[in-house]
Symmetry: D2
Subunit: 426 residues, 4 copies
């Protein structure tokens, strides 16, 4: 099966690279317009970054793409995918140490873009593991917590999830109802009660990062809930089925009924929404890159269809002005979106990326990916209804990316507040 | 089971009516703004028309709505639906005689709107039977053909379908490849060969209206292909599965390999694209009404959600300006769309509705239904991904309505030609 | 010069009519698609209404159009226009009695459409006279006030204006600062102080309808300020120049400094914002019709340009898909907008037009006129910068119509409130 | 008066710089979100570039801004502006030698952005001088031509213009009708005949770069027409007045009737459309930067207005969600647009900027500047009609930028062709 890598042998960075194919093409001096890199952004990436992109791309096109149609149809997520990604060093890739690859933020963005080029659901599954769980533990965990979880998560041997959203509190997590109260008898143990929903990978997670209000202080704290240590009846993680998008990813709830969690599994110092927001920020950065990959796939597929499909006197659809305009719009937005994500990536590497910058690129790239993919889908005419052209799947997925991790309008208001200094959430 | 009707006892028209509920409310002098009828269009309908709408609405809400979620999930179409509609007189309802109800064009539009309020797929199933098959036979069939098929189709005892689109010819049916040649030995028999695709109801059809080029003349003619009379191996109607929209309807192909059709099953005089375009025109008129029903359902569901869902200090989503604007836009477009469909309906009754008028309302109402339903879907935030809120299903369906029976851009060019006198199909 | 009319000799209605030209064409059974009446709305108008439209159209095309370019360039408003309109019976045309024409609401809308087909500024000048002043006096004035002012206003011998908006209170007139306090010595006299701004025709007005808060009650009341009776220094009506739109209309302020107004010039009973809002409602109804006229003029001019202008191998611009789509969009929105305005007009005649309906058509028709005129303007390419093509003037005007008498977003929130029952003005 | 510079004393580059104000602020490590530099693009500029931007900004805000309102109202262009710019080294700034500053492409873009922050017309006047004339001569002129013209043009002592567009050939210059034929008697002299229109600065130009077809070959060649050397009656350059936008710039025609031009004033080798397109490419690059400046000015002015203007219970407009969304959209597009222009600038410095890249950023930045400035203008409500808020002027200007130097749709088709390899100009 699948084996090409690896962590150990990579000198330049700790993600495996392949030295042929895409990156070579991208690195080549651009002589003619290339619709896949219309503003020459690939020239901005380092050799290492290009190599990492190529590794990710090969894996995604060769290993993920062949599975995605069935996965989407049947709402099935193959847990081995995380192990495969782990083998390649793609999980938690920006983390230094703990058996992680330690790549740049831009490299991490390029990985994300390649995964979402196949499917936003696959990218979601990876994002949760990389940005939310691993990133959260790395940022806020005790050294002991890091040692215990990170290496296993990096290899995909453990699966994690991130529990913030509740059935009644989506855009407004500060009103969460999940509570952590001291165990009446066992010292150093908290009992967690409450429900989290729309939790990617919760049904297969070994460790759940759950945000709950400490009864004593009313402050939000983060807990690492270890499935193995939860007595029967205290934890359920039912899957949510019949989704309209991201069907190749797994979504569920986390239902806790006096679920005991030892104090050593609480993040030591982080308090309030800063913790989860920090994790989300990192995930949102990845989404800004990822959605560009999905859009680029829509462009490539539509272009190919428009060149092959002939109507009216044998002209390809590509010859029609209304078709060309849709393609031009999409290619432009993809090019701009990549440059913006790149810029924020470099700032992130310097510790200068502000949350509002990430709101901006998350919002804009999701919005533009969605709008353009929908416009491109029209070019397929009646055939768009067949899932075999893939674009319908992207459209359905991209709608979800626009609504999760901060619905687009919420980010508008975050930006509006940053611009004006005035709050408009009412 | 279901019985309330009736063809026989209805004096005012031949569609069954109920005298309570909706129409009473709608007919009532409007004292306050009613988001379901924002510009008072219900005042334009006759008593009969309101009664017919009410009958259709009751049936759809009571009989169709409970089935639709499963149907959509499993891509299953319950054939009994056509029989139920037939019992109520909803099929081919504008046809005079042949056991049809003989209602007005506006009444027929109101029926369509009620069916699509539940699901565009259910409306598609009905449209094919009513507008394409029954309408086509009524318009172009010989008296013998009418007598033979219309009463049975009206009752839903026979199912029909309409075969125009081919795998390589969607927007451009004039280039069709299906051919009808004389049987080498049997006089008065044609052999049809070719493939039709994206044919609603083909897998369960008893009679297929197939458009083919007569080998001798190269002119397009219409044939009624009777499944029972086709020898094995000459006709296949495989279903197309894994659709991204209209999953509650059944779609398939018609594959004919020297399929014998007696000359008496050919439409006697109609020749060229005028025949199928005439049928499509009638179906498109119905789509213009139907999509308004789907949009209205999205509005009602979103409004309810926005009033119930609280975020940030307990305010309902409905209190947010960005939410209100989306609702205002959608309600406006629904109101305008209904008025336009109504106007064309009345002109149609007088024989004054031009094909370009129908292009206009088909295009605009589909476009606006799609755009607004997508905007409304955003209000559901993360919950939009659950199909139980129904709006994701409408969005997926409405995309298909925008692409079938003349993709929106094609209608733009039809209108552009009518406006300028210049052809731009290249 | 100009003479063709009249009030006296008109039997069918009291607006003069001509029995040739447009209406004959419009009334004719439509055999082919007519881009000027794409959905056959002219069939909905009575013979009288068509005749009135024709009278208005002839006047506007023959008398107003030749003046508009200079007027717009020099920001000059020819006061004789109101007299000319008065002669034809176009002012306050829906009013019964008082030497007014007493035409239908739809006829009044058709007049408005014809005037704005030439220029939104000319329509503004007429709207103020007809809907705001005459309408307000007719609705809320004492019999004595009506007798005194209406006949002279109807003839255009007196000019009126409407003072509601203040420099600091536009969308929010309830916070107005203009105050009316009792004269310290003269009984039955009020002293008005305060500033009104963006007042069409204020510099040339003989009578100003000023809304002010009564000092004693804090309630808003309406006053008819007679310029002739204002002592020097108590009333100034400076013009506002250098406008970016509506330059063919005259705009100014009303500055009152203890301006004495006799109690007999106060509206007897109306109190609060109901009074001015009622007037505005009527004006807004007119705007919904008028902007369709402006859009229709843009369509006709663009179509003509696109047919005449050749680029690339001698093809007219009209042959390009991107051009045709813009025309198709505009024609569609014009057709829909006319139908909606018509529907509200008929409801208004029956006393059933709700304010929210008028918000809806005002908002939508202004928005769509603006959006489409801008899109059409693009077709003129570099030539659009020349005011001789007229479209730039329409675009500039239509922007103003979108912001005045309820900015579009404000109407969104009015609609949002009506739809949800929840207030979102914060 | 005005003096601060200098060409001579500038060590780092040859454009004058000031070391205080903007650039210091911009260069400072960003701690909080800055709506004027939302994605931290200023960190990408060199110290020199920031200094040049600051010089340009000071000049523009202090010297141009105070003049612009009058200039726009009266359609007056102050010829001294070019001299002032020349003194500062802002003209033809990227040119090496010939008394030009020799700054980077990015620096040149920053200059353009600052000028257009005041007015697109002022930027147009500069672009013509810098990119079209000076750029053209530098690129295609003989050494003698360069020596003769460039230093004087750089100082603004000579004014130049660029004659390509003709009354009947805008988007399609290849069909130009202007012809150059050999003088019947004087050897080495051509006679130019034809009309050019929409020529910025033609009425005050000393030297006109005119593109004409050589009679003998039918090939397009470039000529430098020296006004001083044209006999009376052979050259007219009437101004075009009553423009709807860019009124602070001067526009005219070039009418040549057997106008004699010596062969030494013809560009020696360049032939066909490559010459003018190359010049336009450079100007378009500047427009992509410039329009971002105009948009940024709209943002800053709107933000200020929205914070100051109170409506409904004393809330600033800035508190309204619908207002915040418009600001968020505009700020996002400005940020993205600057990054894209920057990227192309750096590629241009390396000789790797493809024409299609420039089409992309010209189209997108003009479109987004226009769309957003229009949306922002709505926030001003009725006050938008006053030109003193400046935004109406920007909106009118930006529409012109969208149509000139390649109307937006034309660039869509250029991009479409580059993406698909198929031509759709018909």
């Amino acid at each position: 099966m699948f084996s090409r890598t690896i962590r150990k042998t990579c000198t330049c960075s700790r993600v495996a690279t392949r030295s042929h194919g895409l990156n070579r093409r991208l690195a080549h001096t651009q002589a003619a317009f290339n619709f896949e890199d219309p503003l020459g952004s690939s020239k901005l990436f380092t050799e290492d970054e290009l190599a990492i992109q190529e590794t990710a791309r090969s894996y995604c096109q060769e290993q993920l793409l062949p599975r995605v149609l069935d996965a989407h149809r049947s709402e099935h997520y193959d847990k081995r995918i995380l192990e495969e990604m782990g083998e390649l060093g793609l999980l938690g890739a920006t983390i230094q140490g703990y058996e992680c690859a330690g790549v740049s933020q831009v490299a991490s963005g390029l990985i994300t873009r390649e995964v979402e080029r196949v499917d936003s659901g696959y990218r979601s599954g990876m994002s949760v593991q990389s940005s939310l769980i691993m990133g959260g533990i790395y940022e806020f965990g005790s050294e002991e917590q890091k040692q215990r979880y990170l290496p296993q998560l990096a290899k995909g041997k453990l699966v994690g999830c991130f529990g913030l959203t509740e059935p009644n509190h989506g855009s407004d997590p500060g009103s969460m109802e999940t509570i952590a109260k001291p165990h009446p008898s066992k010292k150093g143990v908290f009992l967690l009660s409450g429900s989290k929903t729309w939790i990617t990978n919760s049904p297969i997670s070994d460790v759940m990062m759950v945000w709950a209000k400490l009864q004593s202080t009313g402050k939000i704290r983060g807990f690492l809930v270890d499935r193995n240590r939860c007595p029967p009846g205290t934890l359920e993680t039912p899957a949510i089925k019949n989704k309209t998008g991201l069907r190749a990813s797994l979504t569920g709830m986390i239902q806790m009924d006096e679920c005991p969690v030892p104090e050593e599994n609480m993040f030591p110092t982080i308090e309030g929404l800063r913790g989860p927001f920090n994790c989300l920020n990192s995930a949102r950065y990845g989404i800004a890159w990822g959605t560009m990959g999905a859009l680029e796939d829509c462009i490539a597929r539509t272009r190919e269809y428009a060149l092959e499909r002939k109507q009216f006197k044998g002209n390809p659809l590509a010859k029609y002005q209304l078709v060309q305009k849709k393609l031009a719009d999409a290619v432009t937005d993809a090019a701009y979106g990549v440059l913006a994500a790149y810029q924020v990536g470099r700032l992130k590497e310097e510790g200068k990326a502000l949350p509002e910058m990430i709101s901006m690129i998350k919002r804009q790239n999701c919005d533009r990916a969605l709008i353009n993919s929908r416009a491109l889908q029209e070019i397929f005419g009646g055939n768009a209804v067949s899932d075999e052209y893939h674009i319908g799947r992207h459209v359905a997925n991209l709608f979800v990316t626009q609504t999760y991790e901060g619905q687009s309008d919420i980010h508008s208001l975050i930006l509006g507040r940053a611009i004006t200094g005035v709050q408009a959430f009412c």
